[in-house]
């Protein structure tokens, strides 16, 4: 381990502890914003672990998230809450493995469309099962407060960053970057491309399922339409791209401004929220093609060049 690594880890841990202190403010509004930011940080970062290096755009986040909420919804009356999170991880991971093995041989737009359909398909399977068994509403009544949910999400974020950091330094991470640059080359140099991609897809699916399982008590009443909302998948992609996927911290710097922007728009223009959000999306894509990370790299690059000239 290099010295730079150690200091990075220390910095990460310090920021995480700082983030965990938010509920001490006792401000309910800040905490509810914090829950949103923590939730999307985990989702976008784990999304970028897979999609960042490989350039496979996955719209399956809602499928895994929804499966996670239903793990909690179905299990809360029978099992202790804490056992549901690892179960959600396993269920999400298995679903990702199945989907990954079947589809990661697809490339480009075929993969995108498939993942978009996956959320809807999962929703229909859940609905079909409820319809078959004569289901009477899924309630998750617990004593968990927003604080508890926030801390769980921050802890999960820490775990995701750790995984991302470890993967980035491993042979697997190196293999994924080669796949992202040119999949044919990767195959020719002997990388098992399918296996590498599936491995990371499983991580990202399992994490999204755990997020769903953590959020379920917040919704109290679980409906397919809210658990599997396709909006979630798009928001995660947009936030991750706004931040930039080239760095582990990229999605984080996308999530925070985006959540605040969303909040500002929905509180100031409650009747035009959707319209203004659409305009913001356009502006982001048009003005910040590489996200904040790209901007940062450009600025750094330019100042380095200026220094070289001087």
């Amino acid at each position: 381990m290099k010295r730079g690594d150690l200091s990075n880890l220390a910095w990460g841990a310090a920021l995480l502890v700082l983030a965990a202190l938010l509920p001490l403010t006792g401000d309910g509004y800040l905490i509810s914003l914090g829950v949103t930011i923590a939730m999307y940080t985990v989702l976008a970062t784990s999304w970028a672990l897979f999609s960042g290096p490989t350039h496979y755009i996955s719209l399956a986040t809602a499928a895994f998230f929804g499966v996670g909420t239903y793990v909690t919804g179905a299990g809360i009356d029978h099992l202790p809450y804490w056992t549901l999170l690892p179960i959600a991880a396993v269920v999400g991971g298995v679903l990702a493995a199945l989907v990954g093995l079947a589809t990661l041989r697809l490339s480009g737009v075929y993969f995108v469309i498939f993942t978009l359909g996956l959320a809807e398909m999962t929703r229909q399977v859940v609905t079909w099962y409820q319809n078959k068994t004569g289901h009477k509403g899924t309630y998750v009544l617990t004593d968990l407060t927003d604080n508890d949910i926030y801390w769980q999400l921050v802890a999960l974020a820490g775990l995701v960053f750790l995984i991302g950091w470890a993967v980035g330094r491993s042979r697997l991470g190196f293999a994924l970057r080669i796949i992202g640059d040119d999949e044919d080359v990767a195959r020719h140099v002997g990388i098992n491309t399918a296996l590498s991609k599936v491995a990371l897809f499983i991580v990202s699916g399992a994490v999204a399922a755990v997020v769903g399982a953590i959020i379920a008590p917040r919704y109290v009443y679980i409906e397919p339409s809210t658990a599997f909302t396709p909006m979630l998948s798009f928001q995660v992609v947009i936030m991750a791209l706004l931040g930039g996927t080239g760095r582990l911290w990229g999605p984080l710097v996308g999530v925070i401004p985006f959540t605040l922007l969303w909040e500002a728009i929905s509180s100031s223009f409650p009747n035009q929220t959707t319209l203004l959000l659409g305009l913001s999306f356009l502006a982001i894509v048009y003005l910040l093609p590489g996200g904040f990370v790209g901007l940062w790299d450009r600025v750094k690059h330019r100042s380095a060049r200026r220094r070289a000239l001087a």
């Binding site: 009443y221 909040e263 929905s266």
Partner: protein
């Protein structure tokens, strides 16, 4: 008096006058959050938002609510939750802490109300739900002490529909053969899960039974198959789009049944508007006492103020929830929500839907369960303790 003192005195006087005027005009901030976009925006636009507009307009025309001997105007802050529970929670939180709302109105629909229950509970606002149908009222009110339920238990809605059919059969008006379909989505599944065993227990013969996904555009195969089974009664645990779609197909296929029931949205004025005379005899969820002068007066005021007609199910209950809140605040003379909540628990209220009295589980036990289009109005035919139910009529064709 020295000039300086005089100057001081006048500024002080002016300042206190300004402050006094500001205090008298200090409005009561009413927070409202419900869908303006997303899947439930259409329902909220009929059932939820117009009632808030009417209530605020009328209260302010009277000069405001009297709190502690002082009349204060209402000022509404509205947020769109985009039919997303996370946004509902965030908006309620924002209303309480950023906008310093004095009152926060319960959101719209079962799902969004339940998502908001923990935050209402923590903030200590009474949450008088008027569009949440659930079977977990006991559990919910035990955990969230300030949560009230006006619309009733969801099981009653399905069980009473079956009871209406059973009574028609006992009277020898209809036969024993029932075709039952349901939309495969949350509430449709829940109603079917209660309705099917109820039909079987009542000794009906299910001659046709199927379900269809939410958003199915072509319902004609379903209606063709139902017709081929030659039922005496047709029951659909349906949602707004398919309630309309199934009725349309029944007209096209000339489904010849004496009892025709579709669930959610049958009570919407748009249903009567769309099908006109063909709607005569169609039964559905909800109902009101359309002969009640209080309801007629409310309907006329709502239409005059907002241009929107009330639906014949939850609209009146939504307005009743505002009346209850208003009476509780004015009688206790305070905006202390703990006191207001206690008052709501301890008292009964005269509303446009009749007297409302909450039981130990904060539940209004008297509500409408089944209604029927009769003479251009959707009249209540079955209730759990409301006055004014009319006798059901038989469906005679689609002309």
């Amino acid at each position: 008096m020295k000039r300086r003192t005089f100057f001081k005195a006048t500024t002080l006087l002016a300042a206190s006058l300004v402050a006094g005027a500001a205090m008298a005009a200090d409005p009561i901030i009413v927070g409202a959050v419900a869908p303006k976009t997303g899947p439930l925006a259409g329902g909220a636009a009929v059932t939820h938002w117009p009632n808030i507009a009417l209530w605020v307009k009328e209260v302010n025309e009277r000069g405001g609510l009297t709190v502690g001997g002082e009349q204060r105007m209402l000022e509404v802050i509205e947020y769109d939750d985009q039919t997303n529970p996370a946004e509902t929670i965030k908006a309620v939180q924002r209303l309480a802490t950023q906008d310093d709302a004095d009152i926060i109105l319960a959101p719209y629909s079962t799902g969004l109300n339940l998502a908001a229950a923990p935050i209402f509970d923590r903030l200590g606002f009474p949450q008088i739900t008027s569009s949440a149908a659930t079977d977990q009222i006991g559990e919910l009110s035990a955990q969230f002490n300030d949560m009230f339920f006006l619309l009733g238990r969801s099981s009653d809605l399905a069980e009473d529909a079956v009871e209406v059919l059973a009574e028609l059969r006992e009277a020898g008006e209809i036969g024993n053969r029932v075709a039952m379909v349901n939309v495969a989505d949350a509430f449709g599944i829940e109603l079917a899960a209660v309705g099917k065993p109820a039909l079987e227990a009542a000794g009906f013969e299910l001659v046709y039974e199927t379900s269809y996904p939410l958003g199915t555009p072509d319902l004609s195969p379903i209606m063709k198959a139902a017709k081929a089974a030659e039922p005496d009664a047709f029951v659909a645990w349906s949602y707004p789009p398919d309630t309309f779609g199934l009725t349309e197909q029944a007209m096209i296929e000339e489904l010849n049944v004496k009892a025709f029931y579709t669930a959610v949205a049958t009570a919407f004025p748009a249903y009567g508007g769309r099908f006109g005379a063909a709607a005569e005899g169609v039964m559905g969820i909800g109902g009101v006492n359309t002969a009640s002068p209080a309801f007629q007066d409310y309907a006329a005021r709502l239409e005059a103020a907002t241009g929107s007609k009330p639906d014949y199910w939850a609209s009146g209950m939504m307005y009743a929830s505002l009346q209850i809140l208003e009476e509780a605040i004015e009688t206790t003379g305070t905006l202390d929500m703990a006191e207001v909540t206690q008052f709501i628990k301890d008292n009964s209220f005269e509303t446009v839907m009749g007297t409302i009295d909450f039981d130990d589980e904060n539940n209004n036990t008297a509500y409408w369960t089944v209604g029927q289009w009769q003479g251009g109005e959707f009249k209540g035919i079955k209730e759990t303790g409301r006055e004014g139910a009319v006798a059901p009529i038989l469906k005679t064709g689609w002309e």
